[in-house]
């Protein structure tokens, strides 16, 4: 590889470093001290030490947001990602029409989450939504009850579209699946291994990099996204569907608790980093096992 002087390289990197500095490093450096103040942007900032953090963990709505975010990441890891892999495995064998299926499955992932959230808000609506309409029509009115306004079902209802729209995850799996040499499968076939057997023994170990990428992408989506709970339920009923980004959004815009919002931001980052660390540890273990 050719070599250039560091000063020349920095010239080309300067704009990018400026943006990363402004939108990642500076906010991080700002958030840490700012989370130790009480501040509403109108009256002066007041030093409160770790008070914001004790307040956060003492509040039921924050604990609900934290727990629900954990559930979102759990669904992203244990439902969404395996579903994406399953669909990718089916499409990888190129059944008739596979490229049509691929296009349709990916379609929701290019639509805005805001419009999808609104769509499902209407779709699950008890008066105009077809879901409850159909349930009533076939005589199951006992379960056709306002999914989004009951504590028991609201969280599942806000999670449902995310769990089902697996297009992005599927595409990432597909791109690694197509890189696996055909000969592996041919050899296994000669040895008499079934399709399922091949998927478990050959494919799974070889796509674990894609598994890690997907799990991390999905977790980071869950920790950034506000649309589904914001639009479908506003975090209700009784905090049943609130998540960390939505908690921060309401603390900033409604309660004007700036210090508290940034403390919640730090907790979000620590939470996300801890999850990533666990995933990397698991990956290391897997690498040792499969080489």
């Amino acid at each position: 590889m050719n070599r250039i002087r560091a000063s020349t390289a920095l010239l080309y990197l300067a704009p990018a470093l400026l943006l990363v500095g402004a939108f990642y490093l500076y906010p991080m450096a700002y958030t840490i001290p700012a989370s130790l103040f009480r501040w509403d942007r109108i009256t002066a900032m007041r030093w409160t030490g770790l008070h914001n953090f004790t307040t956060l963990f003492g509040r039921a709505d924050f604990r609900a947001a934290l727990a629900n975010s954990a559930i979102w990441i759990g669904v992203g890891t244990l439902v969404h990602t395996p579903l994406g892999l399953a669909i990718a495995l089916v499409l990888q064998r190129k059944p008739p029409g596979w490229s049509f299926f691929r296009t349709v499955y990916f379609l929701p992932n290019i639509l805005s989450v805001a419009s999808l959230a609104l769509l499902w808000y209407f779709f699950l609506n008890p008066t105009i939504g077809p879901v409850d309409g159909v349930l009533r029509a076939i005589g199951l009115s006992s379960i056709a009850l306002a999914w989004l306004s009951r504590t028991g079902s609201a969280l599942v209802a806000t999670l449902l579209p995310f769990a089902l729209y697996i297009g992005f995850t599927m595409l990432i799996f597909l791109s690694q699946l197509t890189a696996i040499p055909r000969e592996y499968y041919e050899a296994a076939q000669i040895d008499g291994a079934s399709n399922a057997r091949q998927d478990i023994s050959i494919t799974l170990p070889l796509v674990r990099r894609a598994v890690v990428v997907n799990v991390l992408f999905n977790a980071s989506f869950c920790l950034k996204m506000i649309e589904y709970p914001l639009i479908m339920t506003s975090g209700g009923p009784a905090n049943a569907t609130t998540i960390l980004p939505l908690f921060m959004y309401y603390q900033m815009t409604r309660a004007r608790e700036y210090g508290l919002t940034m403390a919640a931001g730090l907790v979000t980052i620590v939470f996300g980093s801890a999850f990533m660390a666990i995933v990397f540890l698991l990956q290391k273990t897997a690498n040792r096992r499969w080489g």
Binding site: M1, N2, R3, I4, R5, A6, T8, A9, Y12, L13, A16, L17, L19, V20, A22, F23, Y26, P27, T31, I87, V90, P95, V104, Y105, F106, L107, P108, I110, L111, S112, V113, S115, L118, F123, I128, P130, G133, V134, L164, L171, I172, L174, S175, Q176, A196, L216, S220, K224, I226, E227, L244, P245, M248, Y249, M252, Y258, M262, G265, T268, M276
Partner: protein
Amino acid sequence: MIARVFRWFVLLLFLLVVLLPLLWLLVSSFLPNREFFSRPLAFTAVRWDLGNYASVLREQPMLLYLLNSLIVSVASTILGAFVALPAAFAFLFRFRMRRLLYPLLVFGLFVPTSAFMIPYFLMVSRIGLYDNLLGIALVYAGVSLPTAFLIVSTHMREAVYGEYLEASLLDGASVHQTFLHVAAPLALPGAMTACVFLIIIGWNELLYALLLSQNDASRTVQVAISFLVATYTANFTEAFASMILAVLPVVVISLFLNRRIASGLGMTVGLR
């Protein structure tokens, strides 16, 4: 045999799950509100009446919102591409601090940026771009820079061979000339892929548009969509028409560039 039946069952079930809500939305958006209420299943009354679309465009500043979204997504994309391209070029070479700077540019991919909503808001207000489309575009370009850089960088490494650079430098071209006349043209397809992603990301984003805009003049279509639950308490089918208008542009883009998106994705995350 059972396995094959099961596979088809799964494929068709998923097709239904994905298409049914979207088709319901599309079909309902053509119905007059009263008719929609009398047949909530909508599929029994397919017709192509553009009345809802006409009244949304007439009574709401929908065209302004669409234009705002276009400006924000295009501006952020141009800025992002122009920053990512030279950065990706630098990494075609060896230089001191290379191993430190690469992770610095991509670690943002996994940072939950929702934690930074207050710093972003304060920064944009400080430079006087609150309630301004450029403020929103700037935040988009900054936040999605790791994505843009990763896409351009991966494609550039595939398209620009070391030999090309070597030959160009040996022929006496400067590093800058090599960038402008050799690397940048070769990296154009990768940059275009990045642009498609950035435009879609910018068009779809809600949180920062919500935080950084106040008036119609800087309201993007996603923000308008997010207010629909409150504003259309009764006229549902007009809300549906607005939603269709809000997603139509990206659907058109993706129909044309479907293959590019599909192939760009895997390469981007280094899986191929």
